[in-house]
Amino acid sequence: MSLFDYFDQVFSDYTLRTITLGTAVLGAACGMLGSFAVLRKQSLLGDAISHAALPGIALAFLITGTKDTNLLLMGALISGLIGTFWIRGIIKKTHLKTDTALGLILSLFFGFGMLLLTFIQKQPNANQAGLDKYLFGQAATLVESDVTLMIFVTLMCALVLLLFWKEFKILLFDADFTKTLGFNTRFIDILITFFIVLAIVLGLQTVGVVLMSALLLAPAAAARQWTNRLSSMILLAALFGAFSGVFGTAISASQNNLSTGPVIVLVAAVFVLISFVFSPGRGLLFRELRFRQNRRDLQLKKTLQLMHSIAKTHDDISHPHAIRILNNFQGFTKRSLQKMEEKQWITLQQHHWSLTEKGYFAAENMFNETTHDESTN
């Protein structure tokens, strides 16, 4: 099946429609909640939580013997939360730092999970196959009830988000101030963390434990580049997430033997890359262009200042001076002189320049401007 076929059949084929809807909803939820993780500097916590979920899935299967998605995800949720609390315990009670605590829980829980998975594989139980889809995700295994659950959870997230919008926003920006206003910051904090963990667990079946955190971060990191408003950032992140989900699923479904997780992550990474380079406000490309423009302007202004200081000594400000006398100083070229003439700061005649009235005032005002700038910096 080619990519084109996929989109051709999306509306007619029931399975494809289910899967596509599921990944779109998942991506939107992750983008939305990922924005909070990114703004709270908890990007890597998501990675640790998703890895820590693996033993929960395996244990849930070992204990119940069923492959019911909801049960397995419940196991994932519990072991993810245990991982989160242990990380907090390590950071609070010992002198080990955050990075060590995250790395520890991530790798130790994952190792334990892999031990259990390989143990399950060797069991004489016909029901065991298919657990490894939780490693890299397999969107094709989504069924209608999974998608219903996703939609339900996402709507709940959106509702809570709208309800507590003001509280979330102020806590993210200024936790101390929030406390002095009388808000219960612990409650808001736990609410946000709980929903982030929920989003991670929800995505395990589609994206897998190994790469889940990237779906959380990437849309939010991309969205941040395009806007300076929290509300638009979250909407954009949801949009980017949904697109990454749908495109990723489409690409992986149209190829053989390709897990959904890595493809979705790569699509999201492309969004990030484009945003980093091309976003008009913060993007690297425009930043570099602005930087060069500023440097050119600065050079022109420096030359103008120099001319101003020479012209000042004359009664007639527009008295012509030889270009030669600028030679002792650097930072002017033929082109920059022409540019100054274009701005009507100076007039050029052969080997001479003379300051215009406009140029003279520009130089004087520039001086005032810069002192004013400095005073506000």
Binding site: L39, K166, D174, T180, F183, M233, S375, N377
Partner: protein, 246 residues
């Protein structure tokens, strides 16, 4: 207001970080309507004192009363300007948005700010001279402008007592004058303002009340009575003149 009650009364306040004492047995009474500076060397616990008054840090011992009642019951009366470095200035929000946050306390849970809150936020921005920048993203403001936004947010709280953590830190001369004028106006309207302050030279000019702090309280009272060499030496050690000149 209640004439007889002091604006803030701190009794036997002791605070420790990780069981290392940073404030010891502090007794300070701030009368209503004064403009008070808290001064002391680095690590003296000045910010900690403010945070402990506000309940951001739990003290080991002691109590804080605002107009005679525990702080928790009087929260609405107290406005706060945190240290500039305490927040994430790259946060996606505008100056106006930040000032609006000052109204969140009066609104309480879930309720959204409306046109009334917006109006008072705009007025506060106007007062600090930041109205033209209301839609700027906060990271694009200069240090002095960020501080003015914080001040505007506190003004919107419409409090009776203001606590400010180094509002003059890293601001230019124009902003410093603008801020002190607003503080003096607040005092004129009967508000009480407590400011963590670094620049000893400007204390007599800006403030009428002062508290010397260095883990212990050294002295507290009117500037004209207690701002002298004796207390400065007790607070900063014999080299306090160096501290002044810095």
């Amino acid at each position: 207001m209640m004439e007889s009650q002091p604006a803030i009364q701190i009794d036997d306040l002791t605070v420790a970080y990780n069981y290392k004492p940073v404030l010891w047995d502090i007794d300070v009474t701030v009368p209503e309507g004064v403009l008070m500076a808290i001064v002391g060397p680095n690590g003296a616990g000045k910010s900690t004192l403010i945070k402990a008054i506000l309940g951001i840090i739990d003290p080991i011992a002691g109590s804080v009363r605002v107009f005679g009642k525990p702080y928790k019951e009087q929260r609405r009366l107290v406005g706060y300007v945190p240290q500039k470095g305490s927040v994430d200035w790259d946060f996606p929000t505008t100056a106006l948005d930040v000032v609006m946050m000052g109204t969140y306390g009066q609104l309480g849970w879930i309720k959204r700010p409306g046109s009334k809150q917006k109006k008072s936020a705009l007025e506060a921005l106007e007062k600090v001279g930041m109205l033209p920048f209301k839609n700027r993203q906060i990271s694009q403001l200069s240090g002095g402008q960020q501080q003015r936004v914080f001040l505007a947010r506190a003004l919107v709280q419409d409090a009776t007592v203001y606590l400010m953590d180094e509002p003059f830190q890293g601001v230019d001369a124009t902003t410093e004058i603008a801020i002190i004028n607003i503080l003096k106006e607040l005092r004129k309207r009967g508000k009480t303002v407590v400011v963590v302050h670094h620049d000893l030279q400007t204390v007599p000019e800006y403030f009428d009340w002062v508290t010397f702090l260095n883990v212990k309280k050294i002295a507290t009272g009117p500037v004209k009575d207690i701002f002298n060499d004796d207390n400065l030496t007790k607070t900063y050690g014999i080299n306090y003149k160096v501290a002044i000149n810095n």
